[in-house]
Symmetry: C2
Subunit: 165 residues, 2 copies
DNA sequence: GGATTAACCAACTATTTCAGTCAAGTATTC
DNA sequence: GAATACTTGACTGAAATAGTTGGTTAATCC
């Protein structure tokens, strides 16, 4: 498991797809415009997302991409994995033949940690984020309408509130 | 929050420090030899760890580094943060003046996700890892002594077992 | 059928980060 | 004062990240 901006781009794009995919395919050009990610970079990312069967492509005019499954069944970990192609964390190839066992232990500790984060992201779906997003969008709009003074109430409840058990 | 090999090196080194720091300061040369991390790279990492006050340096012969606090009070998130200098996740500088609010929302979602991982790593201390390490070391030794046939029982229980609530 | 749309693909470039090296310090102890 | 070991900064090669260019292929619209 590796967490970099690349994964963030992928999750953002997938979320955009989930949010705007209600009325047919979404083109990368649209996502690029909305999320300000370069089109060519999106192509690279979606090439992987497609090969991992997270999205379905529709060619030709009016074409674009669709989620391969309902957003509630698409998990963040899948998206991150699809684009970052998790590297070997052990250096010794996980063969267990490290020098007198000592080195490999710390390696395994890190690998366990990494597994836990993976597990964690496997329990959050795009649907979960969407719901939060919608709530938030509504909340923000309400805030903007209600209080146009400079009070700046960014009081949207945190994602942490519905953290997976 | 960014998770790369850099953070792994730092955690590994700090864990080594925690494990061998019982009888006085530990030199980077020792850590370098045990963990097979280049001395110069360790110097870079410890320069940051020291500035973040996670370790204390003792100069001169017999010198080295010590943890600034008991291992049970030093959390993984601190170590990772110290060396990876978490980059801006929002691009817009978190000012909230993104284009019609839309872009920033997805950014915030990711930032929340990142916060949760951070939170998660903030609940695991070096002490926790040490305990696991010791248990493991004993278990491995037992395995090695008991079954010297090729059965290869890598049945050490996972870190997940004592995941923080 | 031809123009348009948009996915697909490959090679190439610039920038940044990672990982490591080198060299010249400074403080401490023996 | 010599040895030890931390401290700092500049520098390097390799890899990953981010973006570009220039095409090809499939589907649709006119």
């Amino acid at each position: 498991m590796k967490l970099t901006t690349k994964g963030r781009y992928a999750v953002t794009a997938m979320l955009d797809l989930a949010l705007h995919g209600g009325e047919g395919p979404v083109s990368l050009a649209d996502i690029s415009a909305r999320q300000e990610i370069s089109l060519s970079y999106l192509e690279q990312l979606f090439s992987r997302l497609r090969r991992q069967k997270l999205v379905i492509s529709i060619r030709g005019p009016g074409g674009g991409y669709r989620l391969s499954r309902p957003a509630a069944d698409l998990y963040i970990a899948e998206v991150v994995d699809a684009v970052s192609e998790s590297l070997d964390t052990t250096r010794c190839g996980n063969k267990g033949d490290c020098q007198n066992g000592e080195k490999c232990l710390t390696h395994h500790l890190w690998s366990d940690l990494s597994d836990q984060i993976h597990q964690f992201l496997s329990e959050i779906s795009l649907g979960d984020l969407m719901r939060k997003h919608e709530i938030r969008q509504v909340a923000d709009r309400q805030n903007r309408l209600q209080s146009d003074n400079g009070s700046e109430t960014i009081n949207t409840e945190r994602l942490s509130d519905q953290a997976p058990a």
